[in-house]
């Protein structure tokens, strides 16, 4: 596991100028959106060159989002596993997940572009809440698209968004989940492109989104690197993170891509790989185009996008970020899966052993360790990205465990 091939240490420069991560990425969008994507790319490039933007961003991450988040040594679990396991506590960031890192960055860009209206898609509601939060902070009008199915599964987050002043629009087309909410947000954007910024929530979509969102999320990996160095005077051996669209994983991995550090992304195996009910786009999907970029996705033999399944609404997406497809193809990152059941076990394990209730998404990453899916050298140093807290999931967990909370 801890071998460092030559490939690991090569310079990593992705994407190419046209938004390509190898064969993946690109801009597969209607003509109407091309000017908006160009405008966004331009605004981002200009912002990155300005000291003021970076200062505004850092300040908000500190005083509004509560960064840096701690790197926590999980002593009891480490003893059980015979390794040193550290948790990057994104669950302690404002709104309870890493999503806020990206929404703060993008709302600053939206303001620079003079946009007065923000739209977003959401699955579990975490990105919707993080978007509604920054929209409230800056007094911008906010509309969040959410599948009808998810609205019923995540009523608490719907109410949080409404309290924050956002309008939550129910999406009844297709599978009524995140995939269709994303379609609907794109349709809204096509119609309102002149005054509206589409605040996309993961490292998916057309260029430049996968790059911009990655960059805003790399604060996770940069902090981890410095914190680990401070604690142990070295680099970790292994990084583990869950992958739906893949924003927390890429944020953690990216600053380490040129270092001799192993990386594992864990996808949702749902009811099992043979069941057909999973969200394992990288492990079981094939190449295709969804929501504006080329990547791996779950599809039929006729190229129709399939319904994903995961107990965790945040992983319940049939596509994945194009950079993860590239990292898989290049062999730099390994991807594997954990099932609903394994995630539930890991969820309870962390809760009881460490006093931390994780979201079901990172519980998948933890399950990969607990179930010995990764070959660990005794005493190795591991960092797991604990991307969010589990409050939102207690109803789902209760019902899976046969407990009635009503």
């Amino acid at each position: 596991m801890n071998k460092s091939s030559d490939a690991v240490l090569q310079r990593y420069e992705q994407p190419s100028r046209r938004g390509r991560f190898g064969d993946f990425g690109g801009q597969y969008v209607p003509e109407t959106l091309l000017p908006a994507l160009q405008e966004l790319e331009q605004a981002y490039a200009t912002a990155m060159e300005e000291k003021q933007f970076k200062e505004d961003l850092d300040r908000l991450l500190k005083i509004f989002a509560g960064r840096p988040t701690p790197l926590y040594y999980a002593r009891r679990i480490s003893e059980e596993l015979g390794v040193h396991l550290y948790l990057k506590r994104e669950d302690l960031a404002h709104t309870g997940a890493h999503k806020i890192n990206n929404t703060i960055g993008q709302i600053l860009l939206a303001r620079r572009m003079g946009k007065t209206r923000i739209i977003a898609e959401t699955g579990a509601g975490q990105h919707g809440v993080a978007t509604a939060t920054v929209a409230a902070r800056f007094g911008l009008k906010c509309v969040v698209y959410m599948g009808d199915e998810d609205i019923h599964r995540q009523r608490l987050n719907v109410f949080r968004m409404e309290l924050l002043g956002a309008e939550v629009r129910s999406v009844n087309s297709g599978t009524k989940t995140l995939k269709d909410a994303t379609n609907e947000a794109i349709r809204d954007w096509v119609a309102n492109v002149e005054n509206t910024h589409y605040l996309l929530g993961s490292v998916v979509g057309p260029h430049p989104y996968p790059t911009i969102i990655r960059d805003f999320q790399t604060v996770i990996g940069h902090e981890t690197k410095a914190q680990f160095q401070h604690e142990k005077g070295r680099l970790p051996d292994l990084l583990v993170a869950c992958v739906g669209g893949g924003s927390n994983a890429i944020g953690m991995f990216y600053p380490f891509l040129e270092e001799p550090v192993s990386m594992v992304g864990v996808e949702a195996g749902g009811r099992g790989m043979d069941s057909g009910d999973h969200a394992a786009s990288l492990s079981l999907g094939s190449r295709g185009v969804l929501h504006g970029s080329a990547s791996y996705l779950l599809q039929t033999s006729d190229g129709q996008v399939q319904l994903a399944h995961s107990i965790s609404a945040g992983l319940d997406y049939p596509g994945v970020g194009p950079e993860h497809s590239f990292l898989k193809e290049s062999g730099r990152v390994s991807y594997l899966t954990a099932t609903d059941e394994e995630a539930l076990i890991a969820f309870q394990w962390l809760t009881k052993q460490e006093g931390i209730i994780p979201a079901l998404e990172p519980a998948h990453a933890l399950a990969a360790l607990q179930q010995n899916k990764i070959n660990l050298s005794p005493g190795s140093n591991i960092v797991l990205c604990l991307s969010g807290r589990g409050d939102k999931d207690v109803h789902t967990v209760a019902s899976a465990l046969g407990k009635d909370l009503s």
């Binding site: 597969y28 109407t32 091309l34 297709g174 995939k179 309102n192 185009v289 190229g303």
Partner: protein, 269 residues
């Protein structure tokens, strides 16, 4: 000569109905196309249904879902195109999102489309920059590549795309998805004038054209109009879709005639 440039060399404005292939059922597609031609249609746009049609409004989302549940595949659509071609010479355009085409394989798709008598291709989520090879390969096999332009497309780009497209351009009438309402203000006519001036090739206008009045308004400076959602919405409600299509398209043909802007026979030479 290819059918699409030949059609647009003939005088008169062209009526182009859009029909989701396999909607309302598999048996209707060929009769609908033939009925549309009888009712005055000059070219047919056949929609390839996709699970995630992000440039389309509610009507085409619904008809696509129904077509998919009827079992429509890209393979079936190519066979159906061939069946249509064996009965009429009306130009056929396939409109579809890129993913099902990639899944079949671009080379196989283009070869079979060409063999099936398909004349043109619209891929709303494949900008010319992403589709350089696909579009070049299509043209080399005699298939017209029809690029979309929108109200926010810069004039220089419209000019460039028209040259690259070679045969025909499709001007999306609004910022929005199919089935939206036309912009009531002056913006639309300014935009259409802009396309007319910039485009070296003929162009059709589509999105949001739903009534004979819309047809008259838009057809003035364009070379043709596309009607999709409005037609499909009527088919959805009708017990006799073929009859419904005939009646609605006849009304639109009359509107074009009344506007004095259609060739007297409605037929290409």
């Amino acid at each position: 000569m290819r059918r699409i440039p030949r059609l647009f060399q003939s005088p008169g404005k062209k009526l182009v109905p859009f029909i989701t292939a396999g909607f309302p059922d598999l048996e209707s597609t060929v009769p609908l196309v033939l009925a549309a031609e009888c009712a005055g249609a000059h070219m047919i746009e056949l929609g390839i249904p996709f699970s995630d049609p992000l440039a389309d409004g509610l009507v085409i989302q619904r008809t696509s879902q129904i077509a998919l549940s009827n079992g429509v595949t890209l393979d079936w659509i190519l066979e159906t195109s061939m069946a249509i071609r064996s009965q009429t010479q009306i130009p056929i355009i396939l409109m579809g999102y890129i993913n099902p085409i990639l899944k079949m394989g671009v080379a196989e798709f283009l070869y079979r489309a060409s063999e099936s008598g398909v004349d043109g291709l619209i891929i709303p989520d494949l900008p010319p920059e992403e589709g350089i090879q696909l579009f070049a390969s299509a043209r080399s096999q005699g298939i017209s590549t029809i690029y979309l332009v929108a109200p926010n497309t810069p004039t220089a780009r419209i000019r460039q795309l028209a040259i690259e497209a070679e045969d025909l351009l499709y001007a999306v009438s609004i910022l929005g998805v199919t089935g939206s309402t036309l912009d009531a203000r002056e913006n639309l006519s300014h935009y259409i004038e802009r396309v007319q001036t910039a485009s070296a090739v003929p162009f059709v206008v589509g999105f949001g054209i739903s009534t004979p009045a819309d047809v008259v308004r838009v057809a003035d400076k364009a070379d043709g109009i596309v009607v999709g959602s409005a037609l499909l919405a009527r088919l959805e409600k009708s017990a006799d879709p073929v009859q419904e299509a005939t009646q609605f398209l006849s009304e639109l043909t009359t509107a074009l005639l009344d506007a004095g802007s259609i060739s007297s026979t409605g037929e290409p030479e």
